[in-house]
Symmetry: C2
Subunit: 435 residues, 2 copies
């Protein structure tokens, strides 16, 4: 039987009830694993991480073969070349994934830190201790490296992980998860500490999002549609990243050479990322000098400008007119919206209206203006005389980054290992009662 009837042997699609049962089973197992993870020492965890990296290297042939299946399916489906590139693994990329896991072993363990402690007048002593969150669900799209990055960071901070990747990368994700588990288990990784949902039906997202008895947090990573879905379904906390509509305001007291240099860097050094610049605001007192300068530097990098009427006066004839939509757009390409403002009040007002509260910047030599900008704008990261491209966990010195949160609760801005922890109060006494 070398040519089995694929129709007869193809697995039947699972019913919704079966998907729900499977997800609940993973959740229950993860909760039990989380209790075991909380007991591992930092040394134990680091040994397991090194073994997980070795597991990836040992399984590299299998992982690359699995990835080839995903690439073939993606090509057959007509995925864009950018999508295919995100999906593709090769020996170099796989080595990067393995050494990424090893780097997590070198980071300090955030758990068991005494965050605070104090005595009360009645003699009880209260300690606030950093502990793992418990079980974290990661829902992501095509990049298979998220499988190992997220699993390693969650594991180092003592959390069990349930991974749910997209259908495009399912073979790669399965092979990677298997390699991490097999490698880790040799060094004592509890079974079910890292689990992958193999079902890529949308129903699996729904049942994950409802499983708040087992899942303490969901982190969706991907496009806005995916995040919207998770936000509307989830019963547990969700930490997410929506847009990065970042602004740069060139104040009347700006060093204009610095302003040009930072504008060019923030817009062009890597335009496809969330901390890249999207809107330039220029104080009207410096617009006549600054705008032609910055236009020249940006055009040399191939940037298209879309400007309001006041700015157009100082820019090349034929510069496109910015519309209301431009102020609301995260281009993620070499396009920059430009607006001339009367003063810092108008700049702050524009930013508080259109900013996605990710990262905004002021260029000025006037400390009083810095103070106003930083106090009056509601964003995760506010920059003074620094490119918004530094809004990043690595650049902050966190060693690794699970993402950048545009939320305001629990974690805001770049998230490192500490943001994957909770805390617990431990109270000791010698018989104190309220009576």
């Amino acid at each position: 039987m070398n040519t089995p009837s694929t129709t007869a042997n193809a697995p039947l699609p699972l019913t919704e009830a079966q998907i729900e049962q499977d997800i609940l089973q993973l959740g229950k197992q993860a909760k039990a694993a989380a209790l075991q993870l909380a007991l591992l020492s930092s040394d134990d965890k680091n040994k397991i991480l090194l073994a997980m990296a070795a597991g990836i290297r040992a399984a590299s042939d299998d992982i690359l073969a699995a990835n080839a299946l995903d690439i073939a399916a993606g090509e057959a489906k007509g995925l864009s070349s950018a999508m295919l590139d995100r999906l593709r693994l090769d020996t170099n990329r796989l080595e990067g994934i393995a050494s990424g896991v090893e780097q997590v072993a070198n980071l300090p363990d955030p758990t068991n830190e005494i965050m605070d402690e104090w005595d009360r007048p009645n003699g009880i002593h209260i300690q606030q201790l950093r502990v793992p969150i418990g079980v974290i669900g990661i829902i992501y799209e095509s990049r298979p490296n998220v499988t190992s990055d997220a699993a390693a960071l969650c594991f180092k901070s003592g959390n069990a992980t349930i991974l749910r990747g997209g259908s495009e990368a399912i073979h790669s994700n399965k092979a990677l998860a298997k390699a991490l588990q097999a490698g880790g288990e040799q060094a004592g990784l509890p079974k079910a500490a890292i689990q992958l949902i193999e079902n890529t039906d949308r129903a699996s997202v729904k049942y994950m999002a409802q499983m708040d008895q087992y899942l303490d947090l969901i982190i969706p990573r991907g496009g806005k549609g995916l995040i919207e879905t998770v936000v509307s379904l989830a019963r547990m906390p969700v930490i997410k990243h929506y847009d990065g509509i970042c602004h740069l305001y060139v104040d009347a007291a700006a060093d204009l050479d610095m302003a040009v240099k930072i504008t060019v860097d923030a817009k062009t050094q890597k335009p496809s990322v969330c901390n890249a610049l999207e809107t330039l605001l220029v104080d009207e007192s410096v617009a006549p000098i600054f705008l032609p300068l910055v236009e020249k530097a940006l055009k040399a990098k191939g940037v298209e400008l879309r400007a309001d009427e006041a700015s157009q006066t100082y820019l090349a004839a034929g510069t496109a007119t910015a519309t209301e939509e431009d102020w609301q757009t995260e281009y993620l390409e070499l396009i920059l919206a430009v607006k001339t403002v009367a003063n810092i009040d108008e700049a702050i007002d524009h930013i508080n209206t259109y900013s996605s509260k990710h990262s905004d910047c002021i260029i000025t030599q006037d400390e009083a203006q810095v103070q106003r900008f930083m106090t009056e704008i509601d964003a995760a990261c506010l920059f003074h005389n620094v490119s918004t491209r530094f809004s990043d966990g690595e650049e902050f010195g966190f060693g690794a980054e699970i993402g950048i949160s545009t939320d305001k609760l629990h974690a805001r801005g770049p998230m490192g290992l500490k943001e994957l922890t909770s805390y617990q109060y431990r109270i000791t006494g010698n018989g104190q009662t309220k009576s």
Copy 2:
């Protein structure tokens, strides 16, 4: 026209679309107010709080008259005497409400604290600053004092509040909110910093829960049904309090006199609250001596016991048998479930199975057992030789409490003013770029 036709003049019920519009309008106003609140100094805020307290005293006749309407409606509706008692205001209670607001003025302002700051090798300086969350929605049931407590705490931490109380207290809530606003505005309270949703239709909860463009956090306070509704609808973070199924484990190495004293306190000092004891676990080596001792002390306080078979051996004949349901029940009355366990492993296992992760306690003189109990149990508060009744913001020294969170993200356990804040990164440099 002294006797208008009530039918003709009664307001028509609002359509869902009108309710949604009204809530969105409140949200938009609150967001604008939140930006203003972030700029108030601690002195400004404290003056406004004192003026809000004065506003309550000045309007006491109106508030008591409004409360009388709620009480009359409640009696007509047949509310229980316990419900009516929670609803009722009198001169003393109203003075308590006003002085509660004044006490919040005396608490330290949590905002603008530098939580952390560091330099990076490239010369940029990063500061993590504590800032308000923004706009907080409070959804609550019958107690009108929540109106002023929650508004005062959210305001002190720099947040705008949207309050949505239950229909039973609507007249009292309106009068209280009006008094807070009128008093506060005389001292500079931004309009829309404290807003009450006057519509008590369930649709108003739904539209609040969906309004994540304006509302940063919802705190539901009330019964499990209310909290469930908010959790399933909300698109923004929810901080909540489910059950308080608190355990006390009497270890083999316990001081048994202390164990009796703490058990009695934790069960009987105020049985109706979330940090009261619900399940007693006794090590089998001390059960023969301890159970008769604690039984005598508990019976003197009128406590009914429900025990497993092993414990029944040492208790009075006829002691009720505990069922599976007892381990899962938050009695909130003078009933205690009792179980004899073989050792600390069985105690920990029972607690991790049935605890609501609120507050659990070990009585022992053996430090190694304390260490195991505290490391292996996943609860917000773990007590050693102290009554679980100390699981409380006041007892922790927070000065005031917005509630006790049984969640693990952002805030866990007793929540004070600090838990009503977020943070912001402020990054300064001198022209750093990534290029």
